[in-house]
Amino acid sequence: MEDREQILSLIRTKKVKNTPLFKERKKQELLLQWQNIIDRNTHHIDKLIQTFKVECELLTGKVYVVQNRYEACQSLSSIIEETEAKRFIKWNSPLLEKLNVDDLLESFGLKNMLLAEKSSTSKQHRRDYTGAASKAELGISGIDYGLADTGALVLKTSPDRNRAVSLLPPVHVAIMESRCILSSSDDLITHLLLDLEEKGDLDSCLTLITGPSVTADIELNLVLGVHGPKELHVIILESN
């Protein structure tokens, strides 16, 4: 406590300020703003998909724009065949359920590494969990948003959406609907502010991902997959 008081007394500002510390926001205005963003994006959807694809592919990501469940499964199948994956971990998300991803994975005989692993606080369990997840060759997520101008994926953590899927396996497949493509981080911030208004807090972890894991620490040579995924695939299902 002593250090706290000392530091605060050293940095305490003498001037009394009457302006609020934080910008005041009105939920109604945010909702309106969000609605405008959705309208604008819906109007430009083809352009947004195209920009996202270009940006993501500049970073060696592979983007598949598909029209229906059948095509989505075809893309996923080709990824499984190419990578020769035997084990996977995945999110539970409505989109993945809608696409029946589980059935497809089963038909290929892939093993779900986290099926048996439930959350627990014991140390050994934690190691078992990460050890098992680490063996998967494929991580499949049903991401929340994409940002067109940077080709970024937006992933929010929740009990059904762990952090490991986009991090531990060497291949990450992200699936989203085209209506989830926002134009830039400006749109995303409006969404997060609404989240904050509605839930009171942000999710425990929000990650923006652009491209695969990369390093240039040895003589500036670009090497992919230094700690996280080496490959990034994004399947975009065009919304009706």
Binding site: I11, T13, K23, S158, P159, T207, I209, I218
Partner: protein, 475 residues
């Protein structure tokens, strides 16, 4: 780490003769400057964004006490713990106490300059705790037992042959040439560490007061692993890292990666808000935030120098500095190098020890031109120089230097004296001209010619003008 700032001249001489380093710095700067400039040219209104970032830092620091208290309140509400550390020793103590309370034996670390600043690794290792640096560059220099040579690329001074030898010696693998192969060796060695470790330690790029979040940027994924797999996450931030809200974060995210590597965004940007929630299967169960002063409150209190705290550690000022790009990071003798090191180091450590740093600049202004938060580094360099010359508390005022400059000022103000002195000097200089350059002047002027190539005095402008106009009239 041992502070060697007072050896700037010796260390930079060594660096200038190091062919590998010179080649590495050349390659590095060519690439990074081009990428950074391209990234900024594609950004709408980059000037406006830099101004906004500058103002956010300015206004936040004016009420930093309130923002830090707000941040603290939010982190605690979310289930995290907040610790305050007045200096490096206290910060190390806090980490050691958390580690020993929880029986932590192994720690994984994400790249963080502030942990270098407080020499955290040495402190933990002395307690028998195994610490693994996990950023590839940091991993390499930890094996080599060297300090980082760049804020962002800690191992840019090493060639791949040197790294191959290092890996072979320390990791017992065969000599390999391919960076890809070496990187995979590091990946496998470190993945096991991540799974086995009980604690992950990271720095903080931004702490958002309104939401109680910390934000971390990286390209490798090692920071995500450090915050996801171990049970305990300890994040360490200097007091200046706090920003008010998400709108502010948006501005900085547009600038930081572009300034650092020329990317639009880093591969991974994590916004972490408290420990993992109920039912979530990964992420740290315990979240500790250490708020560190370590000399920053002193900088904050000094109106002339306060801007130093605006720095977001992007490294752009290093990448464009003609001095840094010749002498490299190690010459600066401590954790922070380049222009930002030259203004930050003397304010954080014993000033007299870092006396040489503010003088190691040509004041060309490249640093200020690229700084994403528009810190006026040249002006701060001049302020520090002035204090070091005038104020015994800051440096070593020299009577000789003061006398010489007073005399110089006096001569410059008197026309007849100026003309007489320059007339004498034009003759007196003749024995000292070697290959068109003035060398080895007698004391006290030798202090100047020792470090500078000085052009000999030519005929005065008036004399030259007269000769020119006479000739013109003749023709």
């Amino acid at each position: 780490m041992e502070i060697r700032c007072n050896q700037f001249q010796e260390l930079s001489k060594k660096a200038l003769n190091d062919q590998n380093l010179q080649k590495a710095l050349k390659n590095f700067s060519t690439l990074i400057q081009e990428k950074r400039n391209l990234a900024f040219s594609l950004l709408d209104d980059s000037e406006g964004l830099r101004d906004q970032a500058h103002n956010i830092k300015k206004e936040t620091l004016e009420r930093i006490d309130e923002y830090l208290e707000h941040l603290e309140k939010n982190v605690i509400r979310l289930g995290g713990k907040v610790h305050w550390a007045r200096d490096a020793k206290k910060a190390r103590e806090i980490v050691k106490t958390i580690a020993s309370d929880k029986g932590v034996k192994t720690v994984v670390k994400g790249k963080s300059m502030v942990t270098e600043e407080i020499a955290l690794n040495q402190g933990l290792i002395a307690r028998g705790i195994e610490v693994s640096e996990t950023d590839l560059g940091e991993f390499i220099i930890q094996l080599a037992e060297e300090p980082p040579s760049h804020l962002v690329g800690p191992a840019i001074h090493k060639t791949k042959e040197q790294i191959a030898e290092l890996f072979s010696e320390k990791l017992g693998v065969r000599l390999m040439e391919d960076p890809q192969e070496m990187t995979m060796i590091a990946r496998n060695a470190l993945r096991d560490k991540f799974i086995q470790s009980d604690m992950g330690i990271t720095g903080v790029n931004f702490a958002v007061a309104e939401t109680g979040s910390i934000v971390l940027l990286e390209n490798e994924g090692n920071i995500r692993l450090s915050t996801t797999l171990p049970k305990i996450h300890v994040a360490i931030m200097g007091i200046e890292k706090v920003i008010p809200n998400l709108e502010d974060l948006n501005i900085f995210l547009k600038l930081l990666a572009r300034s650092t590597t020329g990317q639009k965004l880093s591969s991974y940007t994590s916004i972490i808000t408290g420990p993992k929630r109920d039912g979530e299967s990964d992420g740290a169960e315990e979240f500790h935030l250490i708020i560190l002063d370590n000399g920053r409150s002193k900088i904050l209190a000094d109106e002339e120098l306060r801007e130093t705290l605006y720095c977001i550690r992007c490294g752009a000022c290093l990448d464009f500095c003609p001095v840094y790009l010749k002498v490299g990071g190690h010459s600066y003798g401590w954790v922070y190098s380049g222009p930002i090191g030259s203004i930050l180091t003397p304010q954080l450590i014993n000033r007299k020890q870092a006396y040489q740093l503010p003088f190691a600049s040509s004041l060309c202004g490249a640093c200020a031109e690229v700084c994403p938060v528009k810190i006026n580094i040249p002006k701060i360099l001049l302020t520090l120089r002035r204090r070091m010359i005038e104020d015994p508390q800051w440096g070593k005022p020299s009577i000789t230097e003061k006398t010489v400059f007073s005399l110089y000022a006096y001569i410059m103000r008197n026309k007849w004296l100026y003309e007489m002195v320059t007339k004498i000097a034009r003759f007196a200089q003749i024995p000292f001209i070697k290959k068109g350059i003035l060398k080895n002047l007698p004391p006290p002027l030798n202090k100047w010619t020792h470090h500078h190539d000085v052009a000999p005095l030519e005929k005065s402008f008036r004399q030259q003008w007269k000769r020119f106009s006479d000739k013109y009239e003749e023709s």
